[in-house]
């Protein structure tokens, strides 16, 4: 006879409510884990997207994400000719605000050379950029649809394809345009300003610069040799993909990551205390019944099983409810909530450990109960 299940069934409504309350708490914990993962994942998305081996940026900078970087556009040719480089492409990054369908969109514009590294890896819908100008591929989170147009600066671009998961470390969705369009967007003056400059007789000297050049290595080529060679040029610096990812995490998202990490720690501590209180209270309410069980000869293991099984059922139910809730609402968060199976299982382990520890408190109280308590009242 399983006394734990019988007791749960007896007060089912109350137990379900308790589980639901715990489930809501677990939803918040899982949401924070997801937000934490999302922050890291978003921050790395833009670095990982080009599938690069080496980033060549302006000397003395930590560009192009941690700080601004500007190098001559023809650096790409120089890098592409270096030993071990399979292909290279110049890229440009900038944030713009554009008005579309009655709302302002904050967009991360990635300029790349079609056919070279730096563009989107997989098109989810539509096609990639096929024309030299005024076409773009947008992340689905922009809300743009293939065939729609949107104005950036003085030019109107047509959406030809959609990608997923492309954004900058701030969570702004990305659009891909040609490098030429991106450079024009960055440097072209407003017509009125152009007229003023022309009236003053100023000669426009446009230096073609890009934010970075990314290189993919041939199989077996030495990445460290390439970066060492590039660093010999006074105006350039080079980082491996791993260094760029580390730099982004350390310099750009570190504070936010630590903030959320600390909050997550506090939240887990609060959850542990709440679980412990619930289980301890549940046990305290049963002390008379536990005394009766002792009096009629129930061994300690029967009483321990009653408490521990209920604690584990409570924890498992709360975890499952929390998981179901977060999975059903995570897509409504403005920023990505990324839940890995590993995180979910680790939380399950933590909850199981907390439940066992909490039930130990209850078991201790139950073991102290004098069976005589059941008599004489």
């Amino acid at each position: 006879m399983n006394l734990a299940l019988k007791d749960i069934r007896h007060g089912l409504f109350r137990f379900v409510l308790t589980c639901f309350g715990l489930g809501l708490l677990m939803t918040v914990v899982l949401a924070m884990i997801g937000i934490y993962n999302g922050l890291v994942s978003d921050a790395l998305a833009v670095v990982k997207a080009p599938v690069a081996d080496v980033w060549v940026v302006e000397a003395g900078t930590k560009g192009p994400f941690a700080e601004a970087s500007s190098i001559p556009a023809d650096t790409r040719d120089a890098v592409a000719r270096m030993p071990g480089v399979a292909e290279a492409g110049a890229v440009n990054y900038q944030n713009v605000e554009a008005f579309h369908a009655g709302r302002t969109l904050r967009i991360y514009v990635v300029g790349y050379e079609p056919g070279r590294p730096g563009g989107p890896q997989a098109i989810a819908e539509g096609r990639g950029i096929g024309a030299s100008h005024f076409e773009l591929v947008a992340d689905r989170k922009t809300g743009l649809l293939p065939g729609e147009t949107i104005r950036f600066g003085r030019k109107r671009f047509t959406v030809v394809g959609l990608v997923e998961g492309a954004m900058n470390s701030g969570g702004d969705p990305a659009v891909y345009v040609t490098l030429a369009d991106a450079m024009a967007l960055q440097t072209e003056l407003d017509p009125a300003a152009q007229r003023v400059q022309a009236a003053r007789g100023a000669v426009s000297v446009k230096s073609a610069s890009v934010a970075a050049v990314i290189a993919r290595m041939a199989p077996g080529a030495d990445v460290d040799l390439l970066t060492a060679t590039v660093r010999q040029w006074k105006h350039l610096a080079a980082m491996t993909q791993a260094e760029q990812e580390e730099l982004l995490l350390v310099s750009v998202v570190d504070k936010a990551r630590r903030q959320i990490g600390l909050f997550l720690g506090i939240l887990l501590s609060v959850s542990a205390v709440v679980i412990a209180l619930i289980i301890y209270t549940m046990t305290m309410e049963k002390l008379k019944q536990i005394a009766t069980l002792k009096l009629i000869g129930a061994p300690d293991r029967t009483i321990v099983a009653l408490i521990v099984q209920q604690a584990l059922i409570l924890g498992a139910s709360g975890w499952a409810i929390g998981l179901m809730l977060i999975l059903s609402v995570k897509d409504y968060f403005p920023r990505r909530v990324v839940l890995e199976p590993f995180n979910v299982m680790v939380l399950a382990g933590i909850i199981a450990a907390v439940c066992l520890l909490s039930s130990a408190l209850g078991v201790r109280a139950a073991m102290k109960v004098d069976p005589a308590t059941a008599l004489g009242s």
């Binding site: 006879m1 006394l3 019988k6 007791d7 069934r9 007896h10 007060g11 008379k288 019944q289 009766t292 069980l293 002792k294 009096l295 009629i296 000869g297 129930a298 061994p299 300690d300 029967t302 004098d370 069976p371 005589a372 059941a374 008599l375 004489g376 009242s377």
Partner: protein, 230 residues
């Protein structure tokens, strides 16, 4: 009625709580023997030591001095662990409480069967035995009902069924009829006596209920921790 073997033998038992100035002597040199088939009552004013004696016989409380033998086995002689005493209670002693103390999350039938389950009886056998007992005590029709929905008399009969489920030879009852009216109290005592005789058990009852004094073989009076009269 023919009486059988001695089931409870209490010799020179004393029990005190606290030491020095706070010492309270609850029992002083109590001797008592109860035979199979015998139904006795422990009487006395509050604080006279009735419940302490009941707890010692029930292996809940260890005596400070003296010897206790239950169904031929000396207990509290230093050989018994707490879990062994609990097992002894399960095998040999049945308890009936003033407040029936049925487990609220079990049905009447399960409340009886749980004792058999703890004793290691197969679930189905336990259920059949529980049902037989409830039928015998005329509460079989309430077998699937939770204690909260039973009347006082029904709940007390279920509690009796639970106390008798494992066929204990010693039945200890603490004010078993306090919550019942005179007629029902008499019926319950008659029932307990009948079962005690059938199971060759003895019954020790703590009571203040004068209406049922005539149902006992002996009335044991306790005063200030001593036997006043037997």
């Amino acid at each position: 009625m023919a009486l059988g073997d001695i089931l409870i033998e209490v010799s020179n038992v004393a029990k005190h709580f606290g030491e020095g100035e706070t010492r309270v002597d609850a029992l002083r040199a109590v001797d008592l023997a109860v035979r199979a088939g015998e139904v006795i009552a422990l009487l006395g004013p509050s604080g006279s030591g009735k419940t302490t004696l009941l707890n010692i016989i029930g292996c809940i409380l260890a005596p400070s001095a003296g010897r206790v033998v239950l169904d031929g086995e000396p207990v509290f002689d230093g050989r018994w662990l707490r879990r062994d005493l609990r097992r002894l209670r399960l095998d040999k002693i049945g308890f009936i409480f003033q407040a029936h103390n049925l487990l609220p999350f079990l049905t009447a039938e399960e409340n009886v069967a749980v004792v058999l389950d703890l004793a290691g009886l197969h679930a189905e056998e336990g259920r059949v035995r529980a049902r037989e007992l409830l039928d015998y005590l005329e509460v079989g029709h309430r077998a699937k009902v939770k204690p909260a929905l039973l009347s006082g008399g029904e709940a007390q009969r279920v509690a009796i069924a639970r106390a008798l489920a494992n066929r204990p030879r010693i039945i200890l009852a603490d004010e078993p009829t306090a919550a019942l009216d005179g007629a029902r109290a008499g019926l319950v005592m008659d029932l307990m006596r009948k079962l005690a005789v059938e199971q060759e058990a003895c019954i020790v009852t703590v009571t203040h209920d004068e209406k049922i004094f005539d149902r006992f073989d002996r009335l044991i009076h306790l005063r200030d921790g001593r036997l006043a009269d037997a």
